[in-house]
Structures are given as structure tokens and as C-alpha cells.
């Protein structure tokens, strides 16, 4: 855990592109929100492996978003139920239901549908917001944080040793 936090700090302060970190967090959101053993997560895993996103950010994001998902699963269920029972979409769902690929993807499960839809809707906004936050942090806060008393305490801690070792 300490190593993971250290990685994140290193990452935030490194030369890594903010977009790479943001994309990692967005992909982690999909991975964390939706049930892990879902077919679409294989695609997410493929993207994480092939696209240069930061793995540390991805792992940390996955842990955080999984925790959030555990809390808001009932909301995912409600949303999924609503979208899957919309009369106007019944034709679409029926067509997909008769395709084995989509059946394996469990699209007709209320939690899978609700969580995936939520993750996809939030994907772009989260990407943009985190992108700006990271850029802002590096521009305005990094120097101030570096000089702060809290950072001085932190630098004296074990976490910082690990961070330094990794740096």
C-alpha cells in the first residue's frame, strides 16, 4: 500500500502526461464500477495493457472505484432496471439478447447495465476534470506543497523513503 501511494506521488510529480493518468483513472472507473468478471472488462484490460496509461493510477483508481461501487450498487441496479425496461428500447435489447456475445457480456443484468452505463457517461467528464486538476496541481500547488510543514513531516516518513527508492 505504501508503495502504491508512493507510486502515485511519484506519478503526480513525474513527467507523465496528465492525460495518461486521467485515462488510467477513467478506465479504472469502468473496471471498478462494473462486476469484475464481465466480458467488457476484458476489453478494458486490453486497453490498459496496450495504451500507455499509468498502471499505478489504474490500480489505485480500481481500488477506490470498487469501494464506491459497493456502496452505490443499489443505484446501479435501479438505473439498469429502468433502462432495460424502457419500452422504446425493448427491440434493441431483444436483438442483443439473441446474440451469444452479448448474453455472455450479461448486458441484461441490472447491475452490469447500470454500472457500465454510469461509467461510460462519466468517462469523458472525469477525464477532463482529472486532467485539469493534475495540471493545476503541478502549476500552482506543487511548489507550495513541497515547502509545507506537512510535506516536511512526510519527507521524514517511511513512505518517502520508499518513494525515493523508486524515484
Amino acid at each position: 500500500m505504501i508503495q502504491l501511494v508512493a507510486n502515485l506521488l511519484k506519478l503526480l510529480n513525474s513527467e507523465a502526461e496528465p492525460a495518461q493518468i486521467s485515462l488510467a483513472l477513467c478506465l479504472a472507473m469502468v473496471l471498478g464500477f462494473t462486476p469484475l468478471f464481465s466480458l467488457h472488462n476484458l476489453i478494458i484490460l486490453f486497453i490498459i495493457c496496450v495504451v500507455r496509461v499509468n498502471l499505478s493510477a489504474c490500480l489505485l483508481g480500481w481500488a477506490i472505484f470498487s469501494g464506491i461501487a459497493w456502496l452505490i450498487d443499489p443505484l446501479f441496479h435501479g438505473l439498469g432496471h429502468w433502462i432495460l425496461t424502457l419500452p422504446s428500447l425493448e427491440g434493441l435489447w431483444t436483438s442483443l439478447y439473441n446474440l451469444s456475445l452479448f448474453r455472455l457480456a450479461r448486458f441484461n443484468n441490472t447491475v452490469v447495465m447500470g454500472s457500465l452505463l454510469t461509467a461510460l457517461v462519466l468517462f469523458v467528464p472525469l477525464f477532463l476534470v482529472t486532467n485539469r486538476l493534475i495540471a493545476g496541481y503541478r502549476t500552482h500547488l506543487l511548489a507550495w506543497v513541497d515547502k509545507s510543514r506537512l510535506m516536511k513531516i512526510f519527507k521524514a516518513s517511511k513512505i518517502y523513503d520508499v518513494y525515493k527508492a523508486l524515484a
Partner: protein, 574 residues
């Protein structure tokens, strides 16, 4: 663009995927075993264990070894055990998350076997609630009373209406006696009448002038009026007394009739009678019949939810029941919404199965077809057959079950059973009735319409019947034993009907008729003896009270004589 693509990532992805696939291949057996144990335990409510599961991929199949399903009501026993279950699996439907099993073979199936450790699931232990005072444990068959009680002991417990009436009469006589004595005391006595006599004598003597005569005539009239008034008062008291005496006499006279009524009531209640033996069949077979029906109904209720899949209503509002909410807290759970399929298949189906059931008497072979919770999709009902011949203590036995949920309109389940040469184990108790053995030919059927209403009947023809001699030396028990010794064959009819939660049981037999007829003479003889004893006991208990009422009534009559004397004394003055 180059800085965004990680070519080595493809290899990493391939490795991760390969590891996942390898993991699935290597641990598939364990995962299947765990899944069956977990799901089974959840459904049954008691531990479901599997010794081994072997999943094969080419061709797809599953072999389960050492399946043990704990009886949730008796955690130290298995409800069912199977040595081996081999299943073939259709691969294509698996992509649609459908488990279609064309063939199944189950061997070494045994019921109600012992477990080495408890199969109870924590928090699922069921405590049988204690019966409330006066509450009966279900519908029980009553035992016939074969005891002939001592009449004196009966009278110690039973109140006698005749005796109570005699005691009441005695109390009433005493009260009336006191009351009339007081009233008589207030009436004119001898001295009072003597005073009248003296006054009359005084009138006769003295002056005889016309004025004096007129005065005497007036006085005499006055005396006469007074005497008549006194006589009237005496007459009223006498009349009241005579009425009360008459009432008491009537009540005393009715005492023997009341004693007779007491006798009739007690003779009917405690007297030896063949009517008490009209449920010998229930006594011998009732508990077993009741137990078998209760067990069958209990297991039917457990299986029932698995016969029909709960439909997912697409239009139902997404409101949460408490149970649903709990389910949703488990990460990743939800509801699978079903849509119309082009080629609908059930989620789970065993098309054909062969069974080998081991019972203490031997092995039953059978078939199982169309096992699914979605019969409308298959278009055929679930069917089970089991049969065996030349088993230990059984010539032949056959069982069929059709569980039809194809159409809601015609939903109904039918079970039939037949068996010949079934050896019946000893039943009953040695001190009352005990059948040592018999051979039975049994046929039975049970229909459960709509999954709620039971209509079952059973006929058993028993031959080579052997009844034991009762160890009880009571006259009636011995007479019963003699009659049963002559019975070599009889038949039993049993039925169970009504709602599954509250069905009525009945069991009858021509054994009851045979016994009733044979015991009629025996009970008649004993009835005479019992009747004499009871009569004597009643007479002994009521005799003194009855005679006391007669003597007490004599005291009342004496009072009437006193009043008659007073009346005569008054009339003599006139």
C-alpha cells in the same frame, strides 16, 4: 501517437488472458464443486457436500462424486446421497448461459443416511416450538380404551345426579320443617281453644232476660267469627304444608329414575363396548400413515419452489424488498431481465436421466425426464419412474411421479405407487395390540392440483397376517387377542385430502368390522357383569341418602297431623 501505444502490452494482455484461461482449466473442477456446494446449501438450508467434481471439456461433461445433501430438519442425517452423477453438457447453449444436459446417470442414490458430522448451517438451526398447554401435536389417532374400571372407583370420580337430588331434598325438608314449625307455633293452641270454651260456658250461665239474651247472642257471634278466622288460618297453613309435602313426595319418588339415569350414563361411558374398538386400524397403522404422508408433503413443499422459475417482470417497479436489498449489497449482484428469445431454451434442463436408488431392500432402477423449472419452454412435464423386483422382503414395487407445470391452467402433480409382497414389520404394542407380520399388496395415488390441494388415497391388502397374544390379562384384551388370532387377511383404505397445510387424514379397514363383530358377544357378557357391579355401587352410595329422605318426609307428615288435630279442636267448638 507512438508514445500512447505500448506494443509490449499486447504480449502482456496475451499472458494475462492465457493465465486466466489456464486458471479456469486447472481450477474449474474446484470452482464447480464450490459452486454446487454453495448454491445447494443456499437452496436446501443445510450443508450440501461434494467429494469431487470433474469437468471435462471435449466432449463437455460433468461428473460429480459423493454428493451428500443434509436433511435440514435432522442435521446428523443426509436427506439424500448419491455415489456418482455423470452429466453430459451441450456446449452451444452455454454461450447463452443455459445449462442443457441431454443425459444424466445417477448411481448409489440413498435416502436418510447417517452423517459423521452435523450438516447444520450457522443461523439456520430450526427449533421446534414447544406445544402450548392443551395443544395437540397435529391430528392424532385416539387409542381405544380397553380397561374395565372398578365401579366403586368410577363413583369416586363421577358425581351422581340422584345422590345430589336426595341431599337437596333432605336440606329442603329441614328448611320447610323449620318454617312450618314456626308457622304452627303462631297458630291458636290448646289453651287458645280452651279460652273460647270458657267464654262459651260463661255465656250459657248468668241472666236470661231478653236484653241479656240479645247481648249473649252478639258475644256468641263474635266468638264464632273468631273461631272461624282461626280455623281459616290453620286451613291455609295446612294447605301450604300439604302442597309442599306433595312436591317433596314427587321428588322422592323420582329418585330411583335419576339413579337409573346415572347408571345408564356411567354404563355408556365406562362399560365395555365394541364401539371403543372401531379404530383398531388407526391404532396399528395410523401413526405410520400419518408420518409417511407428513414426510411426503414436507419434501414436496421443499421441491415445489424448484419446479417453477420465478418470472422477472420487466414492468415491475424497481422497488426493493428487504430480501432484495440484502442481495444487492453483495457486489455485482442484480437481476437478469429476460427478453423474448428466438429459440427459447430453459436455463437448466436434464432431458433424460437414469437412476439407481439403493434402499434397504435392494436396488430400484428408474428414469428421470425433463428436469427443469421452465416446463412451458420444454412443453413436457417432469417425469420420474422407479421400480424394483425380487427385493429383500418385497416382490415388486413401482413408483411414478408426473410433475406437470407445462400450462398454468392444467398444472398438477400426480404420484402413483404400487407394490406386491411387501413384508410388513411388527406394529403395535404387546400389552394391547400387536401385529407380528403380514404381506401387503399396496396401491396408492396422490394428486396435487395447483400445487396446493392434496387428494391422495391408498389401498393395502394384507395377507398372511399374524397377530400376537396380548400380555395384558384383562378380560377385554384377552377377548380381543382371541378374535385377532383368527384374522388372516384384511384390507386397509387410507386417504388424505385438503390443503397441503391442513389436510384431513382418514384410515379405515375391514379389520375393524371383523373385530367389532367378534367382540360383540364378549363385550355383552362383560357388560352384564359390569352393569351389576355398577348398579350395586350406585345403590350402596345412594341407599342411605334415599332412605333418609323417606324418614325426613315422615317428620313433615307429623306436622300435618298436628295441624289436622288443631283443625278438629276448632271444629269441635262450633
Amino acid at each position: 501517437m507512438k508514445k500512447w501505444i505500448r506494443i509490449k502490452g499486447v504480449a502482456a494482455f496475451a499472458v494475462i488472458t492465457a493465465v486466466l484461461v489456464l486458471f479456469t482449466f486447472l481450477f474449474a473442477d474446484r470452482l464447480v464443486k464450490k459452486a454446487i456446494e454453495t448454491t445447494g446449501t443456499l437452496i436446501v438450508g443445510a450443508r450440501v457436500e461434494l467429494a469431487d467434481a470433474d469437468l471435462s471439456f471435449f466432449p463437455a461433461g460433468l461428473s460429480l462424486t459423493g454428493l451428500a445433501v443434509t436433511n435440514p430438519d435432522a442435521p446428523m442425517r443426509n436427506a439424500v446421497e448419491a455415489r456418482r452423477i455423470a452429466l453430459s453438457i451441450e456446449t452451444a447453449p452455454l454461450f447463452f448461459r443455459k445449462w442443457i444436459l441431454p443425459e444424466m446417470s445417477a448411481t448409489g442414490i440413498r435416502f436418510d443416511t447417517e452423517r459423521s458430522r452435523s450438516g447444520a448451517v450457522a443461523g439456520k438451526e430450526k427449533a421446534t416450538p414447544p406445544l402450548k398447554p392443551g395443544e395437540k401435536d397435529g391430528k392424532t389417532f385416539s387409542l381405544p380404551s380397553l380397561d374395565m374400571k372398578d365401579p366403586r372407583k368410577i363413583l369416586e370420580q363421577e358425581p351422581l345426579a340422584s345422590l345430589e337430588e336426595a341431599k337437596k331434598i333432605q336440606t329442603d325438608i329441614k328448611q320447610l320443617e323449620t318454617k312450618y314449625k314456626e308457622r304452627i307455633a303462631a297458630l291458636p293452641d290448646e289453651a287458645h281453644f280452651k279460652a273460647y270454651e270458657d267464654r262459651i260456658k260463661a255465656l250459657k250461665s248468668g241472666k236470661s232476660g231478653w236484653k241479656a239474651l240479645l247481648s249473649k247472642a252478639s258475644d256468641l257471634k263474635k266468638i264464632t267469627d273468631e273461631i272461624e278466622q282461626d280455623l281459616g288460618t290453620i286451613k291455609t297453613v295446612k294447605k301450604d304444608l300439604e302442597t309442599d309435602i306433595q312436591t317433596l313426595k314427587t321428588r322422592v319418588k323420582a329418585l330411583p329414575s335419576l339413579a337409573r339415569a346415572d347408571y345408564d350414563r356411567l354404563e355408556k361411558k365406562y362399560g365395555p363396548s365394541a364401539t371403543g374398538l372401531d379404530n383398531v386400524t388407526s391404532l396399528l397403522f395410523g401413526d405410520a400413515f400419518k408420518g409417511k404422508v407428513a414426510t411426503a408433503v414436507k419434501w414436496y413443499k421443499k421441491i415445489q419452489p424448484m419446479l417453477e422459475k420465478k418470472k422477472t417482470d420487466k414492468n415491475a417497479p424497481a422497488t426493493e424488498t428487504k430480501e432484495e436489498a440484502e442481495v444487492k449489497r453483495i457486489r455485482g449482484k442484480g437481476i437478469d431481465i429476460a427478453f423474448t428469445e428466438k429459440r427459447p431454451l430453459p436455463d437448466f434442463l436434464i432431458s433424460n436421466g437414469s437412476l439407481e436408488v439403493e434402499i434397504p431392500a435392494g436396488i430400484l432402477a428408474g428414469t428421470l425426464k425433463n428436469v427443469t423449472a421452465q416446463q412451458p419452454l420444454v412443453g413436457r412435464p417432469m417425469a420420474l419412474t422407479l421400480s424394483g423386483k425380487k427385493l429383500k422382503g418385497i416382490d415388486s414395487v413401482a413408483l411414478t411421479a408426473i410433475l406437470d407445470r407445462v400450462s398454468p391452467k392444467t398444472a398438477g402433480d400426480r404420484f402413483t405407487f404400487s407394490g406386491t409382497g411387501i413384508g410388513i414389520k411388527p406394529v403395535g404394542s404387546e400389552d394391547s395390540l400387536r401385529m407380528q407380520g403380514a404381506s401387503a399388496a399396496v396401491t396408492g395415488k396422490a394428486d396435487i392440483s395447483g400445487g396446493t390441494t392434496l387428494d391422495a388415497d391408498l389401498t393395502a391388502k394384507l395377507t398372511q397376517v399374524r397377530f400376537a397374544t396380548s400380555t395384558d390379562q384383562g378380560k377385554l384384551q384377552q377377548a380381543l387377542s382371541r378374535s385377532l388370532k383368527e384374522v388372516k387377511a384384511f384390507s386397509i383404505q387410507g386417504s388424505a385430502s385438503g390443503p397441503l397445510d391442513d389436510y384431513d387424514l382418514s384410515i379405515s379397514s375391514d379389520l375393524d368390522t371383523i373385530l367389532k363383530k367378534a367382540l360383540k358377544n364378549a363385550t355383552q357378557e362383560l357388560s352384564v357383569e359390569f352393569g351389576k357391579g355398577l348398579q350395586a355401587a350406585i345403590k350402596e352410595k345412594t341407599g342411605s341418602a334415599f332412605s333418609a329422605t323417606g324418614s325426613d318426609l315422615g317428620g313433615m307428615t307429623a306436622l300435618d297431623d298436628t295441624l289436622a288435630q288443631k283443625l278438629q279442636d276448632g271444629k269441635n267448638l262450633m
